[in-house]
C-alpha cells in the first residue's frame, strides 16, 4: 500500500514536471509568427507566414548533399495526384492524404500514430483534381479544409474530430483544396469552384468553436467597392452578356494566404473570373479576380488590392502565394514577390499595394507593357494564333521560394508554352461547368501532343518544358536557369546552406546550388513529384521530405 502511495506521489510529481513541457509543445500563435526561430519545425503550409519556403537549417550542404540517403518512406493507400506539404511539430509529422485523410507520423521513423479518415460527400464537385494540400495547427488542434467544403478541427494527439463547420454548399459547386491559415485565434480558408460559377470568398472561423468570424467575397455585390468593374451589358447585344455576371463570377481561393504580423494584413491570391474564356459575358475588369487582396486579419476588411490580369480571358488565375520579403533592393520597402500564372514577375509594396516592378519571366504576348500604376496594356492575339504563356501558365500553384541569403526568387516555370484561346457563350447552370469555351494546346508540330501529354514516349520536346528560374528579386533579371525535359508541378525549398530542392514530372528529386543552379545531387523516385519539399530537424539531424506518386520519402545524411 505504502509503495503504491509513493508511486502515486511520484506520478503526480512526474506529471507536474511534464505539464509545463506539454503546454510548451502547443503551437501558440506567437510560435507561428516566430516560425523562423524554430527551424526544426515546419509549422505552416509554406513553412512561415512570409511563405518563403526557406529553411535556415544548414546541416545538409552543397559539399555533403551527395551523401543524402533515404531514411524512410510512407505510402498512401489512395492513388492520384498527391499535393500535400506536411507539417512537423516537435518530432511529429502531420499530413493529409487523398481524399481527406489526416495522418500523424513519427517524423524520425515514419511510423503512424493515427489516421483520421473523412469521406467527403458524394455530391462534391471539384474541378481539376480532387486534391488537398495540407493542414494548419493551433494549440493541439489541426485544421483541414475538405473537398466538400467543410472545415474540420482534429485533436492532434488523438486524431479525433473536435468540430466541423460547413463553409459552403457543394451543390453550388464549392469545394476546398487548400491548407488553412491560422492567424491569432482564427482559422482562415478560401473556396474553390471557379470553373462552376461560384462567387468566391475568404472566410475566418473561431479556432475553438468553428463559428464564422468574418467573410470577404472576392466578387463585390452591386454597390460595394469594386462592383463598378462588373460593367453593364451593352444594349442590343447578342453576346450572352449577363447583367448579373457577378453572382457567378468565380474568384476561387486555391492556395493558402500569407500574413504580415506587423501590418496585421493577410494576403490571398484570387482565381480566375467565370466564365473563364468568354469575356463578352462579363464586361469590365471583373475585380477581384486574378488579383491579390490584402485583408485585415481581425475583420476581413479589404485594405488594398492589385489586379494582375484585368478582364482575363486566359484562365490566368492568381493561384499563387504571396512571398513576403523585407528591405527589397535595399530600399527599406517591405514587399511581396509574385510570379504569376500570366508569365510576369511582380513586386508590390505590401503595406500599400503600390506596384514597384513587373517583368516577364517567360515568353509573354498577351500584354506589352505596364503603366506606372502597373496596369498592363493587353495585346490579344488574332483568332487561331498562340497566346504565351498557355492555359496552365508560366507557373501555376506550385510554391516558389525566396532565399534571404541569395536574395533570389526561385520559380517552378513552364517555358515556351502557348495555347490557342477561343471563347464561346455558355449560360450559367448551378453545379455545372462554367468556362465559356476552351483553349487548345499549341505545339510547333501539328498533331503532336501539347503539354497535357500522356506517356513519355509520345511527346519529347513537342511544346515547352519545365525549368527552375532564379530571378534577382530586385530587378527580375534571370540569374540562372535549370532546364527540364518534362514540365514541373513541384514546389521549391531553399536552405540556410544555399541548397535548392525541387522535383518535376519526370520523378527526379534534385538538389541544386541555389547560387549557380549547378546540379549537385539527384535521385529518381519513380513517379511524378506534384508537391513541395520541406525540411525539419530532430535532435541534431536535418531531414528533407518530398512526395512523389503514392510515396512520401524522407532523406537525411547518415549518422
Amino acid at each position: 500500500m505504502t509503495t503504491r502511495l509513493w508511486l502515486c506521489i511520484w506520478c503526480i510529481v512526474a506529471a507536474a514536471a511534464v505539464l509545463p513541457l506539454r503546454i510548451d509543445a502547443q503551437v501558440t500563435s506567437q510560435r507561428l509568427a516566430a516560425a523562423a526561430s524554430e527551424p526544426q519545425n515546419w509549422l505552416t503550409y509554406s513553412g512561415n507566414y512570409a511563405s518563403t519556403r526557406f529553411t535556415p537549417l544548414a546541416q545538409i550542404t552543397p559539399a555533403n548533399v551527395r551523401n543524402l540517403k533515404l531514411q524512410w518512406v510512407y505510402q498512401s493507400p489512395v492513388a492520384g495526384n498527391w499535393q500535400t506539404t506536411p507539417l512537423v511539430v516537435d518530432g511529429i509529422m502531420y499530413l493529409t492524404q487523398r481524399l481527406n485523410d489526416v495522418v500523424a507520423l513519427d517524423a524520425a521513423t515514419g511510423r503512424a500514430f493515427w489516421i483520421y479518415r473523412y469521406t467527403p460527400a458524394a455530391d462534391r464537385i471539384v474541378c481539376c483534381g480532387a486534391n488537398n494540400r495540407g493542414l494548419a495547427i493551433l494549440g493541439n488542434t489541426l485544421f483541414m479544409a475538405t473537398l466538400d467544403a467543410q472545415l474540420i478541427a482534429i485533436d492532434a494527439k488523438s486524431g479525433r474530430k473536435l468540430w466541423q463547420t460547413e463553409v459552403a454548399s457543394t451543390k453550388a459547386g464549392y469545394s476546398m483544396t487548400l491548407a488553412p491559415l491560422v492567424v491569432k485565434d482564427k482559422v482562415i480558408v478560401g473556396v474553390g469552384g471557379g470553373e462552376y460559377g461560384i462567387r468566391g470568398f475568404v472566410a475566418a472561423y473561431d479556432a475553438n468553436t468553428g463559428k464564422e468570424a468574418w467573410r470577404f467575397y472576392t466578387i463585390p455585390a452591386p454597390g460595394e467597392p469594386g462592383s463598378e468593374t462588373w460593367e453593364r451589358c451593352p444594349a442590343n447585344t447578342n453576346s450572352f452578356c449577363d447583367p448579373e455576371a457577378w453572382k457567378h463570377g468565380g474568384g476561387s481561393i486555391w492556395l493558402t494566404g500569407s500574413y504580415d504580423p506587423q501590418l496585421n494584413l493577410t494576403y490571398w491570391g484570387v482565381g480566375n473570373v467565370g466564365p473563364d474564356y468568354n469575356g463578352a459575358q462579363r464586361p469590365g475588369d471583373n475585380l477581384y479576380t486574378d488579383s491579390v487582396v490584402a485583408l485585415d486579419a481581425d475583420t476581413g476588411r479589404l485594405r488594398w488590392h492589385y489586379q494582375f490580369t484585368p478582364h482575363d480571358v486566359y484562365d490566368y488565375d492568381s493561384v499563387q502565394i504571396a512571398v513576403l520579403a523585407d528591405n527589397w533592393a535595399n530600399t527599406g520597402i517591405n514587399v511581396m514577390l509574385w510570379a504569376n500564372r500570366n508569365g510576369n514577375y511582380y513586386v508590390l509594396d505590401r503595406a500599400t499595394g503600390r506596384f514597384l516592378l513587373g517583368k516577364p519571366f517567360v515568353k509573354v504576348n498577351w500584354m506589352s507593357e505596364f503603366n506606372e500604376r502597373g496596369r498592363p496594356t493587353q495585346t490579344p492575339q488574332a483568332e487561331g494564333l498562340p497566346t504565351y504563356p498557355g492555359n496552365q501558365g508560366g507557373t501555376n500553384w506550385y510554391s516558389p521560394s525566396y532565399s534571404p541569403r541569395t536574395r533570389m526568387f526561385y520559380i517552378p516555370a513552364w517555358e515556351d508554352y502557348a495555347s490557342i484561346f477561343t471563347g464561346a457563350a455558355q449560360p450559367f447552370k448551378e453545379g455545372s461547368t462554367f468556362v465559356g469555351g476552351a483553349p487548345r494546346n499549341f505545339g510547333p508540330v501539328p498533331n503532336a501532343p501539347g503539354l497535357g501529354r500522356a506517356p513519355i514516349n509520345t511527346w519529347t520536346e513537342s511544346a515547352g518544358h519545365g525549368a527552375v528560374l532564379a530571378l534577382d528579386s530586385a530587378t527580375g533579371e534571370q540569374k540562372w536557369k535549370f532546364t527540364m525535359t518534362d514540365v514541373t508541378d513541384s514546389g521549391i525549398l531553399t536552405t540556410g546552406s544555399d541548397l535548392l530542392f525541387t522535383g518535376g514530372r519526370e520523378g527526379h528529386f534534385q538538389a541544386l546550388d541555389a547560387r549557380t543552379g549547378a546540379l549537385l545531387w539527384k535521385i529518381n523516385l519513380g513517379a511524378a513529384i506534384n508537391s513541395g519539399p520541406m525540411s525539419y530537424r530532430i535532435g541534431n539531424r536535418q531531414y528533407v521530405s518530398i512526395v512523389s506518386g503514392l510515396s512520401l520519402s524522407v532523406f537525411a545524411l547518415d549518422e
Partner: protein, 259 residues
C-alpha cells in the same frame, strides 16, 4: 515473372471471352451514329469536356479518347453511366440531357474520323498491298509482329491519327513527325557514334532504338555529343505513289487499331 505472364494471359483470355457477351447487349446506338448527333456532340465536347481532355482527346494523362477504346466502358450504355457518375480519378459527374448524351457518345465514338470528310479514303485491302509491295513500308515500320523496329510501330496508328494526318504523313513526312520520332545522333565519351530514334527522354537520360534495331539506354552526362535532327528520315511518297494508292494506303493505316 512467369506467374505474372500467366495472370496477364488469363486476363486477356477473360477479356476476349467477355467481348462477345458485351457486344451481345444492345448498345444505345447499334453501331451507326447520325451525322447530326456527331456534330452536336462536338459542340457538347467543346463546352464540357475539352478543358480537361483537350481538343485531341489526349490531354488527360493515360486517357486517349480518340482511341475509341475506353477502360471503363465497352458499350454505349457503359459510357452513358460513366459520364453520369464521374470517376474517383477526378472526372466530375455530368448531368447531360438525352440529346447531349447521345451527341457526346456519337462524337466520342467518331472522334478520330471527324476530319475524314476532307480526305479520300480508298480500299484497305489494296492499301495493304501497297504497304507490303510498292511502298516497302515494312522495311522500316512494324505492324503486329512483322516488319522492322527502326521507324515507329504502326500497329495502332489508325487509332492514334486522323485520316488527314495520315495523308499528310505520306505526302510530307516531316510535317507530321512527332517530336519524339526526330532522328538523333549521339557520340558517347568513348567515341561510339549511335544514330537512331528516341524511345524516351528525360532531363538526365534517353533511350534509343538505333538503325540496326539495337536498344540503348544512355545517361546524358556520359555523352560527348547529342544532336536532334528536324528532318524525317522517311521519304515523301508524293511522287512515288499515285493518288489512288495514297488513298488506299490511308485506308489500310486507318484499319490498324492495335490488338
Amino acid at each position: 515473372m512467369r506467374r505474372l505472364l500467366e495472370i496477364a494471359g488469363l486476363a486477356l483470355v477473360s477479356a476476349l471471352a467477355d467481348a462477345p457477351a458485351a457486344s451481345a447487349q444492345a448498345p444505345l446506338h447499334d453501331t451507326q451514329y447520325a451525322e447530326a448527333d456527331i456534330a452536336y456532340g462536338a459542340t457538347v465536347y467543346a463546352a464540357r469536356c475539352v478543358t480537361c481532355h483537350g481538343t485531341q482527346g489526349d490531354a488527360t494523362g493515360g486517357v486517349n479518347l480518340r482511341s475509341g477504346r475506353f477502360r471503363n466502358a465497352v458499350v454505349d450504355r457503359d459510357l452513358d453511366r460513366f459520364i453520369r457518375a464521374g470517376s474517383s480519378a477526378g472526372m466530375p459527374a455530368f448531368a447531360l440531357d438525352n440529346a447531349e448524351m447521345a451527341g457526346i457518345i456519337a462524337y466520342l465514338r467518331n472522334m478520330n474520323a471527324v476530319d475524314a470528310a476532307s480526305v479520300t479514303v480508298g480500299d484497305p485491302a489494296r492499301g495493304r498491298s501497297v504497304y507490303d509491295g510498292k511502298g516497302a513500308c515494312a522495311s522500316c515500320h512494324r505492324v503486329g509482329g512483322t516488319g522492322s523496329h527502326v521507324a515507329p510501330n504502326l500497329s495502332d496508328i489508325g487509332a492514334a491519327r486522323s485520316p488527314a494526318s495520315l495523308e499528310r504523313s505520306l505526302l510530307d513526312p516531316t510535317s507530321q513527325m512527332m517530336p519524339i520520332n526526330r532522328p538523333v545522333r549521339v557520340v558517347t565519351k568513348d567515341g561510339t557514334v549511335i544514330n537512331g530514334r528516341r524511345l524516351n527522354e528525360d532531363t538526365y537520360g534517353l533511350q534509343l532504338m538505333d538503325d540496326r534495331e539495337h536498344l540503348h539506354s544512355l545517361v546524358k552526362a556520359d555523352l560527348r555529343e547529342y544532336t536532334i535532327g528536324k528532318m524525317s528520315p522517311m521519304p515523301p511518297f508524293k511522287d512515288k505513289l499515285s493518288k489512288g494508292e495514297i488513298a488506299d494506303l490511308v485506308a489500310y493505316l486507318l484499319s490498324l487499331k492495335g490488338l
